[in-house]
Point group: C2
Chain length 233, copies 2
Amino acid sequence: MEFAKNQQNSWYENKEQVLVAVDCIIFGFDNETLKLLVFKREIQPLKGSWSLIGSFIRQNENANQAGLRILKDITGLENIFMEELKTYSAVDRDPGARCISIGQYALIRIDENNKELVNKHGAFWFSLDELPELVLDHNQMVKDALDRLREKARFSPIGFELLPKYFTLPQIQTLYEQIFQKRLDSRNFRKKLLSLNFLKKTEIKDKSSSKKGAYLYEFDYEKETDQSFIFKG
Amino acid sequence: MEFAKNQQNSWYENKEQVLVAVDCIIFGFDNETLKLLVFKREIQPLKGSWSLIGSFIRQNENANQAGLRILKDITGLENIFMEELKTYSAVDRDPGARCISIGQYALIRIDENNKELVNKHGAFWFSLDELPELVLDHNQMVKDALDRLREKARFSPIGFELLPKYFTLPQIQTLYEQIFQKRLDSRNFRKKLLSLNFLKKTEIKDKSSSKKGAYLYEFDYEKETDQSFIFKG
DNA sequence: ATAATAAATGTAATAATTACATTTATTATT
DNA sequence: AATAATAAATGTAATTATTACATTTATTAT
């Protein structure tokens, strides 16, 4: 900020206090539907209500660090893809205190999360279309995060963070169909995706969902570029 | 947030306090270059340093309202286009206090701002390429806001907020050339822009910059759609 | 009447997107 | 051993969007 410190008219003294929290919108993909990790409050008030996972920001960490701390606490995972969504600052959004929240959305490989930790925290994976009512403005946060995910997916190869290291083309097509909530033509989808040159094909087939089996691919981070990734349809 | 209030183990009590500010990155366009409104601190410390315009968020307002309040204070304008950029929360970003800032960028019609108010606040319009060093992380905020503006301009018809109600096609082309920092082909630019069908042509010519004169257009808010507005360059 | 200036315009070549149906590899069944 | 079943893999033609590129037009000043 811009004004004097350690002065009589200090802008830093006696400011009306606002609490700052971080809430995480955690997406996962189980090869069928997009899912969200939410948890059930085990203490009063609002015991039994579903909520996003959050925390107040601490003195010694920035918002990003706070988000990653929460993600590690609840899933055991580090190096998770996480980006700031937006802030939520309505005056009365939290009836208990004047508290603004920085929403962060994260994409994780659902099969890699530590199930014991998740259970210990009373957290559950919900399909997005079966998501229960959440506390405060958390449903709005989820809606905003989904919009952001769609917007990003149109223009950049996001979503690989939701897939295992090796994945098949039908798998990633299903993911995109889930994100956009529409069927995609497999010939056009594959043509587009492969033309972007950031997938490396392996000679290994995954036969878990067909007799023929589908080749496994991996994301080639070397080759990821700015080239736009525009799905208009 | 998710935890108990008015309880012994309340999450709302004794939280380490964080101040929350809003800083505004205010863009304008003078028909030649993109400009930014910054102001010169008139009090110690850092007297004479250039700074974005900001304020602490108040108890009775959300971040958006705080931003609009600042914009009104400094320019006299209401109903300004303003969007949240991102938060800045590095632990030591402000040596005077633990203070996070919510960056908001705004687009204003430079000719409409109240010059007396602007002067009274010690504010000046700088061309982006002549921008001085700003306090704290404000230069980073400007950089991020410019990136965002570019990104948005590629995909949506942003930028009309920077132009007067009636503007010419050469004028808007110059604006886009400033945003993208590259020359655009006028035939292709006009073809694309007009094909999107959200400009209404008037029969009035603006002769301020040529003998022939250029027709004035206005933005047709009715017709603005989602259609993408992609300038690949 | 002429020169000067910036605005307005068109077309052909290339690239990207869309729409659409058949063949292939494999396993399970008979 | 042959057949049925299943999902994966593939190609092409039509349409649409983008790019590259130069001349004409309207007006004012000389």
